[in-house]
Amino acid sequence: MAQATSPPEVVQEDRSRRGGYSSDAAGLGRGRAAAFVAPALLLIAVFLVFPALWVLYLGLTNYRLTGAAAAEPQFVGLDNLIEAVTTPELWNSTWLTLQFVLGSAVIGQVVLGFTIAWLMRDRTGPLKRAVEGLVILAWILPSAIVSFLWVALLDADDGTLNAMLGIPGFPWLLDHPMLSIIIFNTWRGTAFSMMLYGAALGNVPPSHLESARLAGASGWQQLRDVVFPHIRGHILTNLLLISLWTFNDFSPFLLTAGGPDGRSEVLAVHVYKVALQSGELGHGAAVSTVILLINLVVAVFYLRLLRSKK
């Protein structure tokens, strides 16, 4: 790559840097890019990767919070894992979790969040602020308080919903526990998708939409041809994160305690019961490992789905 005949005027120090500066947009170069990434990676390594690997290791022991196994945990290899995957409860929980994720995250939060972001995209003023404020409020209220709100809403005898529908005594949480927690979680989590899509829609150049509108595209066609291609990356991220979080969401416990009869015991609740209530941390860690693997499958599925369309 070198070229021999440089003019004599060339400043000497520049010679050593021949080809040495980077050609990315901001001229960061790998060295500086690494420096930008380093502090985040350091925190992640110490406070995330290390403890996470520790959890995976705990899954291979019979560690408990108390009792003799707390003093001297034994290495049990894959016993926990095998026990976990051979109990029907786990697969029941997995199935319920899939319903929960699909219903509340993929269908509920993503669709509702996008719809609100789309409806509000060109608006300003009190209506937008009211809608967004309420949606966000549902999201940021601490779960300890939210559970009371929803019990007050869904209670069979005194609940607001039954009073409004005129069907006192209808036990939503008992007869339709999954539907209840799905709607609950949709209510609770829509804000994130709304905000993400709101910000993403802000990045769609309005001129693109204008030209599509001039070309006579209907609302749906505008979405499909202009908006979706533009925010595909955000959709992927959104789906991935929302699914991941919903997989690990513990808040259904506050509403149904996993019941009745385990009919709403999603995986996160299962882990909570095993690890915290029963104190079987080793077993709980093994179930966490299983959840991790399921999450991995889901993530790969999304990647395939959205990459293939590119």
Partner: protein, 461 residues
């Protein structure tokens, strides 16, 4: 230049992050002053608020004063908490495992065994010294209550209180159903008969007997376990766990009669906040009979401080002992049974000042301290008979529990695995509520039990 600067800024942030934090703490415990901390699941303005205030406003100043009089400079700091028992236990375990934690801390007596096995607590005499055994207060504490704070025959802690379970009933509803105001059933059948009468009298929930997993430990303590005792069984006896035994089947059979026969509200057992609702319903006069602890009297329907206050509690709420299935068929051949739990308090084996900490422990269990703690409507059953006689006089229910119930009560096995067994028991009752036959539920329970306690060899059926 720029490159260098950005690098060093980044490095500085990272270093500051870890470095600053590392210098953030200083180790306490200086030369002359003895610093003690005391932790309890109590917090001013929240859970067990009165105990927290008792500690901060009375115990600490008085104890420091008393020590000063002896020429010792002791300061005590209270570390409040106010969370679920499970979370408090988690936090305690983590602290103790790491060699940290308060010098003196409260915990549930049911954890004594598992904490001892994990090495989180040690026999008091081992590290406090002989004064742990020679404390004069022991003489005032009944053996069963002492047992609560012991494991394998060694004293690990001091009991700080106990309780008992009874059958509460609503006298107004009873009158409506033609039942006596001084009702005292002597067999399970009498309970069922009373419930049936309440039902015909139009009482929405004739009897509330906690069941299912949503209620958690409340199902065991205010449901399955006292009934099991009434059927002559124990969840664990002589190292063997009770499987699909006759007592277990009897208990499940009673559940089946109540929830299969329309005497109880099955839905209430499945709701996450079912227990809260059962309290509210009782306070609103919709529940005829309720099996609950003395806590229900003191803190739930208490006209002044209760969460579901009943202004006419003393007139309306009746109480009776829990009968055995039939007279003389209860545990140890008893006619009546109950279950008890209670808190204990101990010294952290990691404490730098175990002797002073033990003094604080005994100070808090002195008659003066207990008298102070339980005044102003903050009545509860203390571990000391001498104090109980004096303070409980004003409260009929607590006197009743202390005099009639505690002599016949039983305690749970203080083993780590108990929590899982308890859950299995709750699941068995849940199965009954949703329609499974008692024999089937008992068989399922035994199967589950085998998985938990390590094989059929540890099970007696």
């Amino acid at each position: 230049m720029v490159r260098k600067r950005s690098m060093s800024v980044v490095a500085a942030i990272a270093a500051a992050g870890l470095g600053l934090a590392a210098c953030g703490q200083s180790s306490g415990g200086g030369g002359d002053t003895v610093e003690l901390t005391i932790a309890a699941n109590a917090i001013a303005g929240g859970k067990n608020s009165a105990s927290a205030e008792h500690i901060t406003k009375w115990v600490i100043p008085k104890f420091e004063e008393a020590q000063k009089a002896k020429g010792k400079d002791v300061t005590v700091k209270f570390v409040p908490s106010g969370v679920d028992d499970e979370q408090y236990k988690t936090k305690l375990s983590l602290d103790l495992k790491s060699g940290k934690g308060a010098d003196v801390f409260d915990f549930d007596s049911i954890w004594v065994g598992e904490f001892a096995e994990a090495g989180y607590v040690k026999p008091l005499s081992e590290f406090v010294g002989p004064e742990a055994d020679s404390w004069d207060g022991w003489a005032q504490i009944p053996g069963a209550v002492q047992e609560m704070a012991s494991f394998n025959g060694k004293k690990y802690a001091l009991p700080v209180g106990t309780d008992g379970r009874v059958l509460y009933f609503n006298k107004t509803l009873f009158a409506k159903a033609g039942l006596p105001a001084d009702w005292q059933p002597t067999s399970w059948q009498e309970i069922l008969d009373a419930s049936a009468k309440l039902k015909s009298a139009g009482v929405p929930v004739p009897i509330q007997l906690n069941a299912g997993t949503a209620m958690g430990e409340a199902t065991s303590m205010q449901g399955a376990l006292p009934l099991l005792a009434g059927a002559g069984g124990e969840v664990q006896q002589d190292g063997k766990w009770s499987g699909a035994s006759q007592p277990v089947k009897d208990v499940l059979g009673l559940y089946q009669k109540i929830y299969g026969g329309g005497l109880g509200d099955p839905k209430l057992q499945q709701e996450a906040k079912g227990r809260d609702k059962s309290f509210q319903q009782f306070a609103e006069g919709e529940v005829g009979i309720l099996l609950e602890g003395d806590y229900f009297w003191r803190s739930v329907v208490n006209p002044k401080t209760g969460v579901a206050p009943m202004a006419d509690r003393d007139q309306t709420v009746g109480y009776a002992m829990i009968p055995a299935i039939e007279p003389g068929k209860g545990i140890h051949g008893q006619d009546f049974v109950s279950m008890s739990g209670g808190g204990v308090r101990t010294v952290n084996p990691n404490s730098a000042h175990p002797k002073e900490a033990f003094e604080l422990l005994t100070f808090m269990l002195s008659p003066d301290a207990l008298r102070e703690e339980t005044k102003d409507g903050n009545m509860r059953i203390t571990p000391r008979t001498d104090v109980n006689k004096e303070i409980l006089a004003g409260d009929p229910l607590l006197t009743f529990v202390s005099e009639k119930v505690l002599p016949v009560t039983a305690y749970r096995p203080p083993l780590a695995v108990y929590t899982q067994v308890s859950v299995a028991l709750q699941e068995a009752t849940a199965a009954i509520v949703s329609g499974t036959a008692p024999d089937q539920a008992a068989a399922d329970y035994q199967k589950k039990l085998e998985g938990i306690v390590g094989g059929a060899g540890n099970i007696a059926s």
